[in-house]
Amino acid sequence: MSSSSAFARNTSEVSRPSAEPRLSVEQVSYAYSANPAQAPLFTLEATSFQAKPGEIVAILGPNASGKSTLLKLIAGALAPMSGRILLNGFVTHSLTPRTRAQRIAVVQQESTLLFPARAWEFVLQGRHAHGRSLRFESEDDVLIAKNALAQVGAAELSDRWMDQISGGEKQRVILARALAQQPLLLLLDEPTLHLDIAAQVGLLDSLRRLAAANRYTVVVVTHELNLAAEYADQVVLMQRGRCLRVGPPSSIYQRELLEQVFQTPLSVELGASGRPRVTVLSGTQP
């Protein structure tokens, strides 16, 4: 069994033409308030975009722009106030946690364990939603977990303790657990936050490779303008709870627009890869 076919949920999924969207966010809005009687503390205005299998979507914006809220809505962890989010035609937040975990994998910024576990135990947790509630892992589960570790280049970490590996290694194991879920949709919340440059590029390279090989739809929340420009097929640009624009990086990366959103002078040029590159002129990082 080749590593990529081990991750395909079934062949029809792979061979299906990618013209119809897998993920469809339709006029989704949300309001958060600590007290229902008070005015909401935060609102997300109607947001729409669509994504196909194999596509990487970056949700981009400054702090408090609603990026993480949008991701939580897509993950089904929050119910939208209006609008709906469809994954292969199913409304995500009305699926049971179990069904949802079979289709959506979420990689969060950090994962802290109460008691130490080995990397392989951690990755096998991704198989939870695929078996009965109480059971022992099957040989298939073990094979899938091994493949997942291999796909992120972390096979040698299998027997290491999770609290004794570096931040970059940990991030790869967390990603492997998400792959072991065999999802249709892979959601990542600022996965590069605590990583050095090499690890950031490594992680996004593997994401692009995995999205293409396993036909995942990937949605990444990030601050990193240049990484998003380099790796995303689509960018959703957010500011203060509003979705300003959706489109390929070349249409989003315009100097005036980005300066206005990020409130800092910057320049945009075309990089060697043909994708836009942003340089911050005031010396602060975007």
Partner: protein, 346 residues
């Protein structure tokens, strides 16, 4: 990669059954009246062969009517407290959670005492009256864990320090209530204050109580065991567990109710025995790992072993008088806990 198999789980349990057997033999042998191993073996054999009439009446009385039931009580109390502690630790994501530390045992004591006080005033048939104490203890335990859970939440998240402080304060408040109740009301309660505050296994019960304990333990622990893999995922937090497919609300409900039930069951027959639910899960976690499919059954056996052993010490150290078993578990438990903590940090 070495995932858990049923065979390995059974082997681990078998090992602990053997240790439990040895501890039970020691517990039967030692006491105010010494019993020789030969006599013990001979009587066990006669018992198994159905020749009970040949068992010498003195030994028979001591083994079958005094020590045996007491050991059986210790087994169920130890197993219940240990399983309850294991589940509280996972659910509250707090390695220091335990029925005693969180005040749940004290809550169960208050419930049990109130039931004992109320019993004479309610004209219930005798079978229902016997059930009143465990039911009161269960209700007391459930109310306490709910209160501590609410106290421990800050901005929608469980805060471990606040939770522990909430538990300790609730526990001391409830201990004061126990003292108050014991001081003002004497009717319908022949067990002393030390029983409820420190724990004691010397009470003997009707045969039906042991059946009730045994069945209750298997129902409660069985309910918790159905969530074993969910508890594994909950170690990483409720949000992550939910994203991995755990129905967090259902698991929380099942485990809180079942763990409160087990605590109530144990407290209604033995008072609050300290630290069993704290120490035993940690020892078992160090030996067998933190997978709850292994941890829950091994903690149950470990709890049984620990309490049978502690009770044997309580009976024999200053024989013919005895000390509260909770004092033994606290004296042995606290230093062991500190040792474990230091070793983890090193």
């Amino acid at each position: 990669m070495r995932p858990l198999t049923l065979r390995r789980l059974l082997l681990q349990c078998l090992l602990l059954v053997l240790i439990l057997f040895i501890v039970v033999v020691i517990a039967l042998k030692f006491g105010a009246v010494p019993v020789s191993l030969y006599a013990l073996g001979r009587d066990v054999l006669r018992f198994l062969l159905g020749q009970t009439s040949q068992i010498s009446s003195d030994y028979g009385l001591i083994i079958w009517n005094i020590r045996g039931p007491r050991i059986l009580l210790a087994i169920f109390v130890g197993a219940s407290l240990s399983v309850a502690g294991t589940s509280f630790q996972a659910l509250l994501r707090n390695p220091l959670a335990d029925p005693y530390v969180l005040g749940v045992s004290s809550g169960a004591s208050v419930g049990a005492i109130l039931a004992l006080i109320a019993a004479p005033y309610l004209s219930l048939p005798s079978t229902l009256t016997a059930l009143l104490t465990p039911v009161g203890a269960f209700l007391g335990a459930t109310a306490t864990i709910a209160a501590v859970y609410v106290l421990g939440r800050r901005e929608g998240q469980i805060d471990s320090t606040t939770l522990l402080l909430g538990g300790v304060i609730t526990g001391s408040f409830l201990s004061a209530i126990i003292t108050l109740l014991m001081g003002t009301v004497t009717s319908g309660n022949n067990r002393g204050m030390v029983f409820w505050l420190m724990g004691n296994l010397s009470t003997s019960f009707q045969k039906s109580v042991y059946w009730f304990l045994g069945i209750g333990f298997f129902v409660g622990a069985g309910a918790i065991y159905t969530t074993a893999t969910d508890l594994n995922l909950l170690l990483a937090g409720e949000k992550e567990a939910m994203h991995l497919g755990v129905d967090v609300r259902r698991v929380r409900l099942v485990v809180y109710i079942a763990a409160s039930f087990l605590t109530g069951l144990a407290v209604s027959v033995s008072g609050s025995i300290a630290y069993v639910g704290l120490i035993v899960p940690h020892v078992m976690r160090l030996i067998f790992g933190s997978d709850h499919r292994t941890l829950l059954p091994t903690a149950a056996f470990g709890g049984a072993i620990a309490v049978v052993f502690a009770d044997t010490l309580a009976r024999t150290v200053v024989a013919p008088t005895e000390i509260a078993v909770g004092a033994v578990t606290a004296i042995v438990g606290a230093p062991l806990f500190i040792y474990l903590l230091r070793r983890r940090l090193a």
